[in-house]
């Protein structure tokens, strides 16, 4: 049971009746008691909440998806099978970060009819968001009091990562086309594979003439080459402790390192799949959190964002042995293993170093680390003792990062260390460079 502002107003107006008409305790009891009785009767006359049918328009078995930064309308259907008109105040509650608006709906459902209540979700973070509970307040015919009840009507939306680095894709694709098979090159070199034989035309490099083939043919035949295709790229996301750090002010929101890592993985996957390579994804810390294997080029990006959506950084040290074992189990042929993790000196020395050998033996390893732009700001601090000590601490941290990166590079790991905005294009560029050099 709940009362309304109308009842409060009536009780307040009752003060006039009491004050001018019956100024006594009896008057107060009489007026208040009458109104209380009327309110109770009004609530009893309201349509019982339990008699209403609530359901969702969405199929409860299918998860609705939307990209972070966009809005989605979720609809609830309210049916009133009774013989009285239902005047309702309804709240379709979702988890707070789902950004459900409006918070409450007012609606009238005539007897035997059904109404649709639309709530707009504007999520503020990635992941799965659940509908929590629908609360219904059914007002009595006088609008003085109401019955209230709630019910769980399950629904779930999956908020996908925004893929903000998508804008870097066209320029990288254009660069890839320059050495792609679409412009067959006739110079044989590292990183190319045999494409086809075709007739010689004036202007072709005479060095590319395939004499053996020409001998069997009435024409002169040249060989063409194209960059390697159908390579395997395995993106490994570290969702452990190092991915939890909140870095820089990324255009409006400062997310954890993991957000930049997801962006990096998406751009690389989009680029590599257009370049004819197979892309797999693995996300893990102490256990495997997400895994996308063997997706076809068309399904790849949807599969990736769906797998990435629920990923959250965890405050545990990543199990590098598990990482190495998982990589080796999933990458049969020689692959490019893109490891998005941190460059903490201790973590690399004790975690990654021991297992790096087994990875490098069979694969090319690219380590991408999200740098904190604030380090540079702190390192440039001058003026007073506190700023200078902070600058010194920042320089120490940068030196350690640099040292770690150099040590990894000496062991043959490709290291890309850049800020959250710069990392996705930097990794894409390094991938293109590796591809052009035939090191995939």
């Amino acid at each position: 049971m709940a009362v309304t502002g109308r009842l409060a107003l009536l009780v307040a107006l009752g003060a006039l009746v009491v004050g001018l008409g019956v100024p006594s305790l009896l008057g107060v009891l009489l007026v208040s008691g009458t109104l209380a009785l009327v309110a109770v009767l009004d609530a009893l006359a309201a349509v019982p909440v339990g008699s209403l049918h609530l359901d969702r328009e969405q199929d409860p078995d299918r998860v609705t998806t939307l990209r972070l930064g966009t809005s989605l309308e979720v609809a609830l259907r309210v049916a009133n099978p009774g013989r009285r008109r239902a005047t309702l105040v309804l709240r379709d509650a979702w988890e707070p970060s789902a950004g459900a608006l409006p918070a409450r709906h007012r609606l009238v459902v005539p007897a035997g009819e059904r109404r649709r209540v639309a709530t707009t979700l504007t999520p503020t973070r990635r992941g799965d968001r659940d509908a929590v509970r629908v609360t219904v307040r059914s007002l009595g015919p006088l609008g003085l009091a109401a019955r209230q009840g709630g019910r769980t009507v399950p629904a779930r939306v999956r908020v996908l990562p925004p893929f903000g680095s998508r804008r870097h894709l066209p320029s990288r694709l254009a660069r890839m086309r320059e050495f792609d098979g679409r412009r067959a090159i006739q110079v044989r070199g590292q990183g190319t594979e045999f494409d086809s034989l075709r007739e010689y035309v004036a202007g072709d490099d005479v060095r590319s003439i395939d004499w053996r083939a020409s001998a069997r043919s009435p024409e002169l035949v040249v060989r063409t080459w194209r960059p390697e295709r159908d390579r395997h790229v395995l993106v490994v996301l570290d969702t452990g402790r190092s991915s939890a750090g909140r870095v820089g002010a990324r255009a409006g929101s400062d997310g954890p390192r993991l957000d930049a890592a997801l962006d990096t993985a998406l751009l690389l996957a989009a680029l590599a799949s257009r370049g004819g390579d197979r892309v797999d994804l693995l996300a893990l810390d102490r256990e495997v959190r997400a895994s996308v294997l063997g997706a076809t080029a068309g399904d790849l990006l949807p599969a990736l964002v769906t797998a990435m959506a629920p990923l959250e950084p965890r405050l545990v040290e990543t199990d590098m042995r598990l990482l190495a074992a998982s990589v080796l189990a999933r990458a049969g042929q020689r692959s490019l293993v893109v490891l998005v993790t941190g460059l903490d000196e201790a973590a690399v020395t004790e975690g990654l170093d021991p297992v790096l050998g087994s990875l490098l033996r069979r694969h090319t390893v690219l380590l991408a680390a999200v740098d904190d732009p604030e380090l540079a700001t702190m390192a440039a601090g001058r003026g007073d003792a506190e700023a200078v000590y902070t600058a010194a601490a920042a320089e120490t941290a940068r030196a350690a990062r640099r040292r770690t990166a150099e040590r990894l590079a000496r062991r043959g790991v490709e290291v890309v260390d850049a800020g959250p905005e710069e990392l996705p294009p930097a990794v894409a560029d390094r991938y293109l460079a590796l591809k052009a050099a035939g090191r995939l």
């Binding site: 009362v3 307040a12 009752g14 007026v31 750090g245 954890p256 920042a394």
Partner: protein, 401 residues
Amino acid sequence: MTEGDVARGDAAASSAATTTAGRRWRGPVLVVGLVLLAALVIAVLGAAPRTGELDPEAASPDGARALAALLEAQGVRVETVTDLDAATAGAGRTVLVALPAQLSTRQRDALAASRADLVLVRPDERTLTALAPGVRPEPIELPEPTEPACGLRAAVLAGPVDLAGAAYSTADPAAARCYPTGTPSGAVSLVEVRDRGRTVTVVGDAAPFTNDVLDERGNAALALNVLGAHPDLLWYLPVPPPAEPGQERGTSELLPPGWVWGPAQLLVAGLALALWRGRRLGRVVTENLPVVVPAGETVRGRARLYRRAGARDRAAAALRADARRDLAGRLGVPRSAGDGAVVDATAGRTGWPAGAVGALLAGPAPADDAALVTLAGELDRLRSAVRDASGATPGAPGPRA
């Protein structure tokens, strides 16, 4: 685009901005202006509240300073009083009750008990009952009596006067009834009755006594003759007296009995209000939020540790190492060459003394925090000197060349 174009563009943009701002503010400004204008009009038109009504000191149109002066000139002593007891107003005096409606009951009783002649200016019914028995007010709007039409000496001498106020009637055959209004009931604007040996004159309008029209028609003659009958005139401007001691009543005593139950009902309304606002539409929703750690936190923590421990040597070493690395890269000194090579190359490029550069890049730890701050500034200066020198080198065009 020339400079003129830029200027024109800016001017157009700023005028557009002004127009937009003007449009946005037009409504509120208009409303405020109208309110101010209305306030001004009301202030001007509704100004000058009636002041000094029948006050013998007041020179306003409603005042009676002219009449008081004329009476003094005729040898009548005019005394202004705001309260009066029966003893003061003895026989052989005239009491002009200027504003009878303001008399309190006690004051009215005191007047009734006195033996002085009374002149009542437009009295209300209660005053009439107490002081001029037998005279009743007549409900006539704005009578316009012209001629005295009676035997009263003052009225006969005055002739036509301005008495467009209230009208009265009386059944007393001995009463003088002057300035009839011409209604069948026989209402008149000036009545003089005799009551217990004194004369009570009821004047229907204060106009004949006021500064405004005293000099018109027979107003002055009427006023002087009515008020100048005795050499002593008490000009009574009644002011409600303060409550007598022991008779003050508190605010609660002025309220009707049982008033307290109205607010009590309001308290119940407050309870209903609290019930209305306090009932939540469904429970509070909680959510597990992901852990998020500011990445720079460890660095700041280490900076605080350095500072608390006074680790100037470590701090200076970190800053120097970074400077050496930067300079080595800029000057093309191989990393294996050692600090001495960097110092030499830097000194050579900038022209700074090698000793000073050496002390800066690889000297002893600073003695205090101030020296550390200075060291950091000097390292920056050295780096920018190298940058400038590199830029100025012939054949190597720098950014400023």
